[in-house]
Amino acid sequence: VDRRQFLKTSCAAATLAGLAKLGAAELAPPVRALGPAQSLRIMRLRHGGRWDARMDATAALAEEVRLRTSIDVSLDPLAARPTQAAFRDNPFAILAGDDVVRLTEDEREALKRWLGVGGFLLIDNSGQSDQGKGSEAFDASVRAELERLFPRTPLRKVSPEHVIYRCFYRLDYPAGRAIHKPFVEGLTLGYRQAVVLSHNDLLGAFARDPGGGYRFSPVPGGESQREMAFRFAVNLVMYAQCLHYKDDQVHLDYLLHRRKWQIQRPGR
């Protein structure tokens, strides 16, 4: 295989089905990290509002991430306030709710530090308004809180070209239980998205009833939309752990060969 061939091959995304053709021996065995704290633990941020909305969806998400990726995910979700030790030890958290979000000053300070040193926060608007939108109170309150935390760093629409739409699955839009807005917003710290704000009740797509069935039927897309919601959530988790890794893959040729360590022969 020469280089050109390789690049063609590597630039073409292989599908899971394609990987399956390679046989089970080609895939890594599932493993657990060296200790429980090394696993990815999906954490719910406890706040002054209804922080536990769609609480049962958290475990479902963890299970899906474990089933679909090699990430070692703890199936034992956690809920903690930003000031608590458990929160400080885990870099991935979800802030969900359907009403006003309230944080204390200490919590704001702790959350700001947590985000600044590497934490990733998914904010999910779980509300359902009469106008077919998410909770406006939730939306306004999280925006106000984020503005207090980072007054000079506003939330911005995340471009459809951003790596969160292709860090595992290739996606065109951020699905959820609903599709109130065809985009998510993000808050960028350094070169990474530290906060992603979903308007589409992402966790609602995973919420289960006591019998194990899904509690809501995604609208308007139904089950295919639920699958897209899972995929988007998996991408977000993957992004939290791999950041812009997939951007590197797109530029693989450039990265591998940008240093002229082989003199090109004339005529080649």
């Binding site: 599908t15 990987l19 080609e26 895939l27 400080r88 870099p91 240093r259």
Partner: protein, 785 residues
């Protein structure tokens, strides 16, 4: 005038002067009187016929009046007896080393001697009319008694500075009359003026002050000379590792109008590039540019050499050597990760943001349990490019990281020997712990085991069972507070602070880690830098958490945990200093890629270029593996002079000192004499590492400051410029009795002076009387008396 005053001799100068210094009014009266007389005469003779009589009488009267007015002014000759002194002529002979080269069948100096001999008559004649002085020049001007003394000189001067010699002459002949300068040279001026092949303003001012023609007799311009020379090499004295760079050379070819010349670039004696020059009759300078990729860190010797052609008059200028310090532009890191994790994320984040690091990551994102049927193109997954990475590209990296990566499922076992060889050849390898690393990653018995700093036990745990929570005896999942080993207290990797006490305190305050991969033991030639506080390895020593090892020319490092990210994230969240995480990993990177600042034996030559005859000062610093200064340590010092084809460790040994011992600071200083030109390698060896000798080396160039042989074919352009600006001329060296245009002496001496009056000499009085008598007789004849 001899009929008036007799012969006055050849050195007598005469000037007409007027002695009658009358007041102006008297002169006006006399001139008015004379004019009145003339006017009256014209009036009186107005009736005289024929006309010629009238004109003749008036003319006679005018002559008489003029003579009387002349007598009134008392004309006289000022006679001076002068003696003209000789001016000086300097003969300058070039005795630089290039004059010893052949020009045809004889040396250039022999041709100059022949000029002095063949033109002995000319010199003799010059000596009669001029004061001849004889000088030699090279780097400085020396006076000699006569031409014979000049002829006895040899071509030994390491420089030929013609313009500087003329400046010297100007100083010697200040306020003296210099009639000319005869220069016998091959036309090579090694000063800036020679390189410029012309005069600058300073040179023009010099010639104006010298005010004497420069007459050159030269062998320059001889078409019969044959030579190929590397005249100049232009290069950056540093280049980046694995980055193409270039070096320019100017090849000067004389006497070979056709054919071709191969020019080679060598790196430590090994040819790395070659170019062929097609020769043309109208060209003698050929620029050559080499593009090459430095592949070895540190100072490297690059040589540019041209073919030796038949009948070259000088062969030693066909090659030149230069030293280029090869440095890293960026550390190229290959990070292969078996599963996304926080440990991977924080390390990647650190490396990605480091401007000195070029990072390429490959993550394994799915495992055997992960199966969801999706359509083609719905994921962004790509196959792991094992062959491309390990067969084709591995050599381009400085560091390969296996972070919680299990080679097994990716058919990469066949490439593991390549990874091991990559390290032995000088690469760096880092294995970071996790459930897919070390023994748990089934590395026991693979070639990777050979390069790791730790010995592994086999693991018999089944991955499926451990995934369900079954214990793997090669893994411990408990929290622990890592502690520095004795070696770690001073090792640069674990140096979070310069002060050892502060460093120890910093380690004491680090966040606890969670889980380690168990190793059988640390290998005997490896160092444990960080150890587990309670776990023991098979030898009973504290279980290693961080260990390092030199492997062949490369280095390896084992970090037996996947939780160092705690030092960044958890520490920062608790308000502790998260920079310790960055410092630890950046230190590790520097050590792994052999940052020269972290070598155990460091050799520094104070000056990279040392002129012949002087000494090179070499400073050696020796450290123990834990980076304590190696005090009172025996150091062996070897100095070699490398030949054109020699690489590191090769060449002629010119000095070996086995009895040097470091001082309390671990330092040794050495003075190396430089008797010959060339590239010198200074190597220091110390047994500070068990079972092997730690070495360090540095290079310097013993420079022959004599550039006489850079260009050995003379250039007449400077001589032409000197001749043109001074009114001189350029002759071939074999000319006999040339016509020399020297400047005439300008200084005279008046020995006596006197006035010879004209009005009272008998001839003048007789002439005046004769005119008066003629006029009287004529007037009477024409009837006016």
């Amino acid at each position: 005038m001899s009929f008036l005053f007799g012969d006055s001799g050849p050195y007598t100068e005469r000037h007409l002067v007027l002695l009658g210094e009358w007041p102006p009014w008297l002169q006006a009266v006399v001139i008015a009187l004379a004019l009145t007389v003339l006017a009256l005469s014209v009036y009186n003779y107005r009736e005289l016929r024929p006309m010629r009589r009238r004109v003749g009488l008036i003319t006679l009267r005018a002559l008489i009046v003029l003579a009387l007015v002349g007598v009134f002014y008392q004309p006289a000759f000022l006679e001076q007896n002068v003696a003209t002194s000789k001016n000086h002529v300097a003969v300058l002979l070039d005795v630089s080393e290039s004059m010893g080269l052949d020009h045809g069948e004889r040396t250039r100096l022999a041709l100059a001697r022949g000029f002095l001999r063949d033109n002995a008559d000319l010199l003799e004649r010059l000596a009669e009319t001029n004061t001849l002085s004889f000088f030699s020049f090279g780097g400085e001007v020396r006076e000699h008694g006569d031409a014979a003394a000049l002829s006895a000189l040899k071509a030994t001067e390491p420089r030929s500075w013609l313009v500087a010699a003329l400046e010297d002459l100007r100083a010697r002949y200040r306020n003296r009359d210099l009639g000319g300068v005869l220069v016998l040279t091959d036309g090579i001026d090694t000063s800036e003026a020679g390189r410029r092949a012309g005069l600058d303003r300073r040179g023009e001012r010099l010639l104006a002050a010298l005010d004497a023609p420069i007459l050159s007799f030269t062998t320059a311009g001889g078409a019969a000379l044959k030579d190929v020379a590397i005249e100049d090499v232009t290069y950056n004295n540093f280049a980046f590792l694995m980055n193409a760079t270039s070096l320019d050379a100017m090849v000067r070819v004389h006497g070979y109008p056709y054919g071709s010349v191969a020019v080679r670039l060598t790196e430590n004696g090994r040819e790395v590039a070659r170019q062929r020059i097609d020769l043309r009759p109208s060209q003698d300078a050929y620029p050559v540019t080499f593009e090459f990729v430095p592949r070895t860190l540190g100072k490297q010797v690059y040589g540019v050499a041209a073919d030796h052609l038949a009948d070259e008059i000088y062969a030693h200028n066909n090659s030149r050597q230069v030293i280029i310090n090869v440095i890293r532009d960026k550390i190229r890191v290959l990070q292969i990760v078996g599963q996304p994790s926080w440990d991977e994320r924080f390390l990647r984040n650190l490396l990605k943001q480091d401007p000195n690091v070029d990072l390429i990551s490959f993550f394994i994102l799915v495992n055997t349990q992960n199966f969801r049927p999706v359509g083609e193109g719905e994921t962004a997954l790509i196959p792991f490019p094992a062959k491309e990475l390990f067969e084709d590209e591995l050599g381009g990296f400085d560091l390969a990281i296996f972070q919680n990566f299990n080679y097994g499922p990716f058919r990469t076992r066949e490439y593991l020997p390549r990874v091991a060889q990559f390290v032995r050849d000088g690469g760096a390898f880092l294995m970071i712990g996790g459930p897919l690393s070390f023994s748990a990653g089934r590395y026991y018995g693979t070639p990777i085991t050979e390069i790791l700093p730790v010995a592994l036990e086999p693991s018999f745990a089944k991955p499926w069972e451990t995934a369900q929570g079954a214990a793997d005896p090669t893994i411990d999942t408990s929290d622990f507070k890592p502690r520095l080993s004795a070696a770690g207290e001073r090792h640069p990797i674990t140096r979070l602070a310069l002060d050892p006490a502060i460093n120890a305190a910093a380690w004491g305050q680090l966040e606890p880690l969670e889980g380690v991969n168990r190793a059988k033991r640390t290998k005997s030639d490896a160092l444990t830098l960080v150890e587990h506080p309670s776990l023991r390895d098979a030898s009973g020593a504290p279980a290693p958490v961080v260990a390092v090892r030199d492997v062949g020319k490369g280095r390896s490092m084992a970090v037996m945990t996947d939780s160092t990210w705690h030092w960044a994230f958890k520490a920062a969240n608790k308000g502790a200093d998260p920079r310790h995480y960055d410092t630890f990993w950046k230190n590790a990177l520097r050590w792994l890629v052999k940052d020269p600042e972290l070598d155990l034996v460091r050799v520094r030559v104070v000056r990279e270029s040392v002129p012949l005859g002087e000494t090179a000062t070499v400073r050696v610093e020796v450290y123990r593996p834990d980076y304590r200064p190696a005090a009172k340590e025996a150091v062996e010092l070897i100095v070699r002079r490398r030949g054109p084809g020699d690489g590191p460790g090769e060449g002629t040994e010119v000095l070996r000192d086995t009895e040097r011992v470091t001082d309390a600071a671990g330092h040794v200083t050495l003075e190396v004499p430089v008797p010959q030109a060339g590239v010198y390698e200074v190597e220091a060896r110390a047994r500070v590492v068990p079972q092997r000798v730690a070495k360090g080396a540095d290079l310097f160039v013993g420079t022959d400051l004599n550039p006489e042989f850079e260009r050995i074919v003379g250039d007449t352009r400077l001589l032409d410029a000197l001749a043109q600006a001074s009114g001189g001329e350029v002759f071939p060296m074999d000319v006999v009795n040339p016509a020399l245009t020297l400047r005439q002496p300008r200084v005279s001496k008046v020995e006596s002076r006197r006035h010879r009056e004209l009005w009272n000499v008998p001839f003048v009085l007789v002439l005046l009387a004769g005119l008066m008598a003629l006029e009287w007789w004529t007037r009477r004849r024409f009837g006016y008396l």
